[in-house]
Symmetry: C2
């Protein structure tokens, strides 16, 4: 089947659309206490038409760009008789330009920090071969023998999103929502390449959990069903009997993945993605192709249910992701995601006429919900805890138990509110987790609270001037970083794009 | 005429020959007092098949290479999930690898120091776009997330020299001369590109003085008459009425040159080059094309003769180059080069039937020789001095007065020996000037001394392990540098290739 899945993925490679962004303005990056990360770009009327050794300037392309940079180099009347050495430093946000990369102290490879030093042997048009993700570009003339003109900087942006397909929100829509929707759409656009990348700056790979939110949001924005299909097939090509799918995969130079990257909640969300795709397209053919993978994923989970009927750790893999909240215990969340996924795939089995499967899964779902209520709910607290690991109290556990259908709306509202208001509970850190929080609110009928949360959380990034939504955002705490250094953060991160989905589906 | 000359230059662009150099060995660069520049490469059995962040190794390609580097990058079983950042540092000699570029303190642009930092986003075959000149390559893994295999390094070397045309020296030739000839031929080979470059590391341009020695030496090695013709036409395209030619020109992106780079001795040597070319090929057509340039150069010189009949400084340009010897006074040398050039172009005028020109030039040559004897010779010292500027005593002045035909052999030998033996005289610094010293010796019949000088001067570089001859060499004084730092030196420099000419013409 692997070859078949790869062929289908290949056949569904979407075309890329190109747009050229020209005439960047010069700006100065200045310390700014009001900015989340402490730096802003302010207009600057510097004349940078002729540069000398040691000169440096920052260009602002006016929008977030993912694509290829080019520019022209010429002499200023006297032939440049040595190579021109330039340092090019790219930033999605002003902070990345201000930040001295030499001080980077994170855990991930510093090679993700976007900069290149180039030597230009011949003047003319310079086409940078790498794809960059940025709005700001700092150009430093490391060395040149004579005055040097650097000009006509432009970026050929690329995306597999057809922006022409994007419908404006109805007239009269709350301007805050319009702004959030716009930033969300830009975020998704720039993560849509030959796959739904998690971040075009970093990691540039396809994660099943991220895919789920991107494909769902794409349904209300660009509707690239071909891309969604491709991504579903790409994961299918990585399927292994008796093991979860890898949580992420790489496309180049060939489709591959890391061992030990099984993530049970991501596997369940991959299954949910197939259901999302079917609900949107009615394409039963693709569902039929992918159903063996669904069965495998559910089967792996079933084998991991313990004597109480609670999902446990797969050997070697992660127990679950859920969120980057430090110290988060995930047993309860992961079990909820299992319930959530299982509920979503039953209709697929039904559509394919697999009656026995439907009946089996319905029974399991019911049992696993009861198990959750029995073993993961703290009656005294009237909320879910991570009873398998230190009784940790988190928003995450409430959210996933609600989404898993373990409790009714009234109890759900009580548990959720309690977790949000408690000083001792673990709170969401990533926009990804905030998505499921909003989804849980909507499921509970807390529409007002959901809307308020969208405005408060994603709206805050918009107020900080975000062009695209960030990978990690805890208002007031810019140092929170799963990687040990915010310089490593992706500031155009796909899992943050989903408010557009909520806005367009529930609030206009 | 400019367009015509450019067309002829273009039509004479020689094909390049390619040779792939593979399987470099790893070496260690170690301090070595016996080496001229203080460092040697010694064999090293390190296993560099798998590298980690921070690793560094040096490859020795076993020969001097000018061309394009490529290599392969692959994971070691685990996908490399971040860009691989490598620093590549190139050296023609071990010293350049040992030398920390951050300590460079010379006057020329540091961008000439050959290094590149690259970010590899996808594993596979990496083809470096720049042309490098090197034998040694230091690879430093600046950043990689996981063990990384770097392998199959190779260089596609390029040259317009047809090495198949090179005849071996006769059996029984003195092995020292064989070795010097081999290094000279390698030097010339690697400087022969789309023009006779002065150095493929630096400056990569066409200088008329360097061209003269290269084209002359090429006659006895690869015999690329097409390349010689191209270079003569390239200079002709830069001709301006009433001004000397520029001393050097650039080919890319179009043929151009710097104002203020007129160098009178180089102009005369350009004229001598045309005579060399005619003597070797008998191609009167090309001589006819170029003769207007010759007349212009001679005319400019005549206008610069002062009331004593001695050549003076052209406005704005250099008085002359002669050599990089610090503080060298050039009046006498430049006047000698004028006599030398003028003597060589009279036969060209004769071949073209320009009788009046022949007669005029013969008279001027005779007068200018007399003027030199009268105004530049110190009777008391029995040698030439730079009487126009502080009576400086140099080997250079003797050499050029001898080559200019100002004194007879007996007086010439006396003057030359005196200058070579005196503790107070200025001595040659560059192999270029050493060429004219040997040429003067041969003119005086000092064949034994000439051979001894070739063995002693160029032979010393061979003993120091030179693969190619260096731009600057004063035995025992590695710090002598026209640029303030020997790191800037070109270690494969065309003007150093001429011993092959002497060996093949006079000593086998």
């Amino acid at each position: 089947m692997k070859e078949y899945y790869l062929q289908k993925a290949e056949a569904n490679t979407p075309p890329l659309y190109y747009e050229t962004v020209k005439n960047p303005k010069t700006v100065r990056i200045v310390a700014d206490e009001t900015d989340f990360l402490g730096y802003s770009a302010i207009p600057d009327d510097r004349d940078v038409s002729v540069t000398q050794k040691g000169d440096s300037f920052v260009l602002d392309f006016g929008r977030h760009c993912v694509g290829h940079l080019s520019f022209s180099v010429k002499d200023n009347g006297r032939y440049i008789d040595a190579p021109v050495r330039l340092k090019l430093k790219f930033g999605e946000v002003p902070y990345e330009i201000a930040r001295d990369h030499a001080t980077y102290h994170g855990r991930l490879s510093s090679s993700w920090l976007m900069e290149d030093v180039i030597n230009i042997d011949r003047i003319g048009r310079i086409e940078m071969p790498r794809r960059y993700s940025f709005r700001y570009l700092e150009v430093t003339v490391v060395s040149t023998p004579r005055p040097t003109c650097l000009f006509d900087f432009e970026v050929v942006c690329e995306t597999s999103a057809d922006v022409g397909h994007l419908k404006p929100l109805p007239e009269g829509t709350d301007p805050e929502l319009v702004a959030i929707d716009r930033v969300a759409a830009t975020t998704l656009r720039d993560c849509m390449q030959s796959a739904y990348e998690d971040g075009p700056k970093r990691d540039r790979r396809l994660w099943s959990g991220d895919l789920r939110l991107q494909a769902l949001t794409d349904q209300v924005l660009f509707e690239n069903n071909m891309l969604a299909r491709r991504c579903l097939y790409l994961f299918a090509a990585c399927r292994r009997d008796g093991k979860y799918l890898p949580g992420c995969l790489y496309q180049y130079p060939e489709v591959t993945f890391d061992n030990g990257m099984e993530i049970s909640d991501y596997s369940m969300l991959y299954c949910a993605s197939i259901a999302d795709y079917f609900d949107h397209t009615g394409d039963l053919e693709t569902v039929r192709d992918l159903f063996p993978v669904v069965k495998n994923e559910i089967g792996v989970a079933l084998d991991l249910l313990d004597e109480n009927g609670i999902l446990t750790h797969p050997e070697g893999g992660w127990l679950g992701f859920i969120d980057w909240a430090p110290g988060l215990q995930t047993v309860t969340g992961v079990h909820g995601a299992f319930l959530y996924g299982l509920e979503r795939v039953i209709p697929l089995a039904r559509a394919l006429g697999e009656t026995a499967t439907v009946q089996g899964w319905e029974r399991i779902l019911s049992d696993a919900r009861k198990a959750a209520k029995t073993y993961l709910y703290d009656e005294k607290k009237q909320a879910f805890v991570s009873r398998y690991d230190n009784f940790q109290f988190s928003v995450h556990s409430q959210v996933w138990m609600i989404l898993g259908g373990v409790i009714d709306a009234e109890a759900g509202v009580r548990a959720l509110k309690q977790s949000l208001e408690s000083a001792d509970s673990v709170k969401p850190v990533t926009p990804y987790m905030h998505h499921y929080l909003v989804e849980a609110m909507l499921k509970l009928g807390m529409k007002t609270e959901a809307l308020a949360h969208i405005k408060q959380y994603w709206g805050a990034m918009v107020k900080y001037g975000a062009d695209t939504f960030w990978e990690v955002f805890v208002d007031g705490d810019p140092e929170v970083s799963p990687y040990g250094d915010p310089a490593m953060h992706s500031f155009c991160h796909a899992w943050s794009c989903s408010p557009a989905y909520f806005i367009r589906k529930y609030f206009v």
